[in-house]
C-alpha cells in the first residue's frame, strides 16, 4: 500500500544549549514508517539552527511572537498554508500553546491544519502554580508549594516547609535556597525576569526521573518512556540520559493520563526519593527536547500522534527498550550569509 505524504509544520527549531524540541520531533517524523513527510519549520529568530538544517527542514517560515495575538498568527498561517497546504502542526513551546489551543478549532475548520494539544482546562490545571492542587485532586504526591507576591511572605512559608526550599519562576527557572536571605535574593532575580507570582516549593531529596509520553484524550496512554538524566548542563538541561525500567513510574503515568484524559504529548518530571516515593514536580504540555530517545527505544511517539490525529488506528505501545542512552553534541554549521539574509528579510528560507 502506498504511504501517505503529510506536510507537517514544527516550531522549536532552537537546537541550542537549552534546546527546543523541534529538531528531535522532526527526526522522529523523518523516521516514521507509516507516512512520508515534508517538514515546514516555523521560527521566531533568524539564528535558530534548525532553519539551516536543510536535510531535516524542507522550508522555514518566520512566525509572529505569541504576544502578537491570535489574529496575526492566523493571518500568517493563512499565507503559509496557501503555499504549503499543512496537514499537521506541532507547537513545541509552552509560551505559544495558549494561542494554539485557543485557535485549534479554527485552524482545523478553516485551514485544514490538525493539532494534538491538551484542552485549555488541562493546560491551565497542570500549570506549576496550580500543580499542588492538581496532584491532590488526582491522588499524586506533589511537593507543597505556595505562590508569593512579595519577599515578606517567605519567612512564614519557610517555617512551614523548612530549608532548603525551591524558588520557582512562573514559567521558567528554579533555584534552591538554604536561608531566608538566599530565598529573598532568588525571589528578586526570578520575579524581575519572569514576573509575579513566584512559587515557593518544598524541596524533595532524591533523583529526578522524567517520562515522555502521549495521551489519546480518552484516558489511554498511547506511549510512555521513563528516562533519567545522566549529565545536566548549568541550565539544568539533560545532556545525556538513559531509559529506565520503572514499572511504578509507568503506573503513575498511566493513572494520571486516565484521570485527566490528557490529550497530546507530555513530559512528566518527578523526584524519586530514596524510599521509592515519587513526587510530581512538573507537567510539560509538549514533547521534551529528549523525545528522540523514545524513537531509539522503539516508540515513535511523534509518528503515533500524527496517526492519531489523522484518525488512523493507533495501538498503544506496550514495550520499549531499557538502557538506551542519548548524548547530545554541539556541531558548527557553516553557511552562506545569503541564507541568513533571506530568512531575516523575507522571513522564508
Amino acid at each position: 500500500m502506498k504511504k501517505p505524504k503529510y506536510t507537517i509544520a514544527v516550531t522549536g527549531l532552537n537546537a541550542i544549549d537549552s534546546p527546543g524540541p523541534g529538531i528531535a520531533v522532526i527526526r522522529a517524523l523523518k523516521e516514521a514508517e507509516s507516512f512520508d513527510v515534508r517538514i515546514i519549520g516555523l521560527s521566531y529568530e533568524s539564528l535558530e539552527p534548525g532553519i539551516y538544517m536543510h536535510d531535516l527542514v524542507d522550508k522555514t517560515y518566520q512566525v509572529p511572537y505569541p504576544s502578537a495575538g491570535q489574529q496575526v498568527l492566523f493571518e500568517r498561517f493563512k499565507y503559509i498554508n496557501s503555499i504549503e497546504n499543512i496537514d499537521f502542526l506541532f507547537p513545541n513551546f509552552d509560551a505559544e500553546l495558549f494561542n494554539y489551543i485557543s485557535i485549534k478549532a479554527k485552524f482545523e475548520s478553516e485551514l485544514g491544519i490538525k493539532m494534538e494539544l491538551p484542552t485549555q482546562e488541562q493546560f491551565d490545571a497542570r500549570h506549576k502554580v496550580n500543580l499542588y492542587e492538581y496532584g491532590k485532586e488526582h491522588g499524586i504526591d506533589v511537593p507543597f508549594a505556595k505562590m508569593v507576591y512579595s519577599t515578606a511572605e517567605i519567612p512564614a512559608i519557610s517555617t512551614e516547609i523548612g530549608y532548603p526550599l525551591v524558588v520557582k519562576g512562573k514559567f521558567y527557572d528554579a533555584k534552591i535556597a538554604y536561608s531566608v536571605e538566599q530565598a529573598q535574593s532568588h525571589f528578586n532575580k526570578i520575579s524581575a525576569q519572569w514576573g509575579l507570582p513566584v512559587l515557593i516549593q518544598e524541596f524533595v531529596h532524591g533523583s529526578e526521573v522524567n517520562v515522555c509520553g502521549i495521551g489519546d484524550g480518552n484516558g489511554v496512554t498511547l506511549g510512555a518512556v521513563p528516562m533519567r538524566k545522566l549529565f545536566i548542563t548549568d541550565k539544568g538541561k539533560a545532556w545525556a540520559g538513559v531509559s529506565l525500567d520503572d514499572e511504578k513510574l509507568l503506573e503513575i503515568t498511566k493513572d494520571l493520563v486516565a484521570a485527566t484524559k490528557w490529550n497530546g504529548p507530555f513530559e512528566l518530571e518527578f523526584m524519586k526519593t530514596n524510599d521509592d516515593q515519587y513526587y510530581l514536580i512538573e507537567i510539560n504540555p509538549r514533547f521534551p527536547a529528549w523525545c528522540y530517545l523514545t524513537v531509539g527505544c522503539g516508540q515513535n511517539q511523534a509518528e503515533a500522534l500524527v496517526n492519531h490525529a489523522m484518525k488512523q488506528k493507533v495501538k498503544p505501545f506496550e514495550t520499549y527498550q531499557v538502557g538506551k542512552m542519548f548524548i547530545r553534541y554541539s556541531y558548527d554549521m557553516v553557511l552562506d550569509m545569503k541564507e541568513f539574509e533571506q530568512i531575516s528579510t523575507i522571513g522564508e528560507l
Binding site: 533523583s207 526521573v209 528516562m227 533519567r228 545522566l230 540520559g241 538513559v242 529506565l244 525500567d245 520503572d246 531499557v322 538502557g323
Partner: protein, 79 residues
C-alpha cells in the same frame, strides 16, 4: 544475599541498574564475587572461595567482603 534480578552484569565487569539508570564498574574480583552471588553462594562459601583461590587469610577476606557487600547494598544492587 542476592543480586537484584534486573541488574545487568557484562563480561567486562560493567553493571547497569535499569531501575535507577546508574552504572558501575567492578574489578575482576568484584565481578567474581557478583558471579558467586548470582550462583546463590552463601557469604561463607564466597569467603572460602576467595581465600583459597587468592591465598589470603580468611579474616582479611571477611573484612573486605563485608565492605564490598555493604557498598553493593547501599547502591541497591543486592537484597
Amino acid at each position: 544475599m542476592k543480586v537484584r534480578k534486573n541488574i545487568a552484569i557484562s563480561d567486562s565487569g560493567f553493571l547497569f541498574n535499569p531501575t535507577t539508570g546508574d552504572s558501575y564498574s567492578v574489578n575482576p574480583i568484584g565481578q567474581e564475587i557478583l558471579q558467586l552471588l548470582q550462583d546463590e553462594k552463601s557469604e561463607e562459601e564466597i569467603m572460602e572461595h576467595i581465600a583459597k583461590n587468592y591465598m589470603i587469610d580468611k579474616d582479611t577476606v571477611e573484612k573486605d567482603l563485608y565492605d564490598f557487600l555493604n557498598m553493593l547494598q547501599n547502591y541497591q544492587l543486592i537484597v
